[in-house]
Symmetry: C2
Subunit: 154 residues, 2 copies
DNA sequence: GTCCTTTCTTGACTCGTTCAAGAAAGCCGG
DNA sequence: CCGGCTTTCTTGAACGAGTCAAGAAAGGAC
């Protein structure tokens, strides 16, 4: 894979170019929806001795700069993805936690507008579809659900 | 307030009627969107010596039985509400974590259907609107945001 | 190359949540 | 109304993702 101009991306948003940040961005390029542990492991492929703290800091900086997006479904640790700026949502498997992308359900952003806003200034509508992935559906009840929340159609 | 027939509710879903469970349900009646700590405190108003563990167990049992619903926005501890079965969503303040109810944006359940399902069997579409509540908007930038995630219109 | 600022390393720590073992309470049948 | 079985609660320890803090190292502007 050609070296992504990740450095330019970083400079473009006013962040210093450091090895941990580059490694984190490239890790997310390879692993969409990686959780924090995955990111740490993957970043260490490029920078074997990065501290977990550096990864946390990098993820926070990248998230704040808008280069990555954080997703954190109930009962799962934080996950991150590089796909930002477009308008998409997620399907999450209740059993194994697998995440898949779903294009916006209704068309363009803002795809949803609340029926009442209670005076809030709304800047984002986050949509998570919950269900069972094909693999877990096939495995049936042999798998142990991680999030036993009762399915409440909403 | 007349004693709610919380006991019947519990029996109705096949759960034993215990003092902690009753106290938790009544606490959630008083405090919509209470977090775990609030529930523990509120339950102790009725049952001063309930263990936190009993509250966790009760919340888990009630959630599984469908009597309460768990909400857990990024960066905040789990919250619970009694309003279940109807079709509503939430607005969450990025600054102070306040939650308000919003009736379903599009009408009836299922209010959203994903444009692609990747073979998942979908049972719920969860919608969270992120923004700033009136109080925090007024307070301006003096408050410390708890979730600095960049607003990514989706 | 120098210097200032930001970022990384190291290591301890917090706090929500879970686990485990035994005691207590709910509930069913008689 | 009581025995007995099962579920639930108490107690106390443990877990783990994430955070905090102080000093060392690296980025980048001049």
């Amino acid at each position: 894979m050609p070296p992504l101009d990740v450095a330019d991306l970083l400079r473009g948003v006013g962040l210093r170019v450091t090895r941990p940040r580059v490694a984190v961005l490239e890790a997310l390029e390879r692993l969409p929806h990686a959780d924090t542990g995955d990111v740490i492991d993957a970043a260490r492929r490029d920078v074997p001795d990065v501290s977990h703290q550096a990864v946390y800091d990098s993820l926070a900086a990248l998230t704040e700069a808008g280069l990555v997006r954080r997703i954190q479904p109930h009962g799962h640790t934080a996950r991150y993805e590089r796909r930002v700026g477009d308008n998409h949502h997620h399907v999450v498997c209740r059993t194994c936690g697998t995440i898949a992308d779903v294009d916006c359900a209704t068309g363009e952003a803002p795809c949803l507008v609340p029926s009442q806003d209670h005076g809030f200034v709304i800047d984002e509508a986050e949509v998570i579809f919950w269900g069972t992935c094909p693999a877990c559906a096939r495995a049936g009840s042999t798998a142990t659900p991680r999030d036993p929340q009762t399915p409440a159609p909403a």
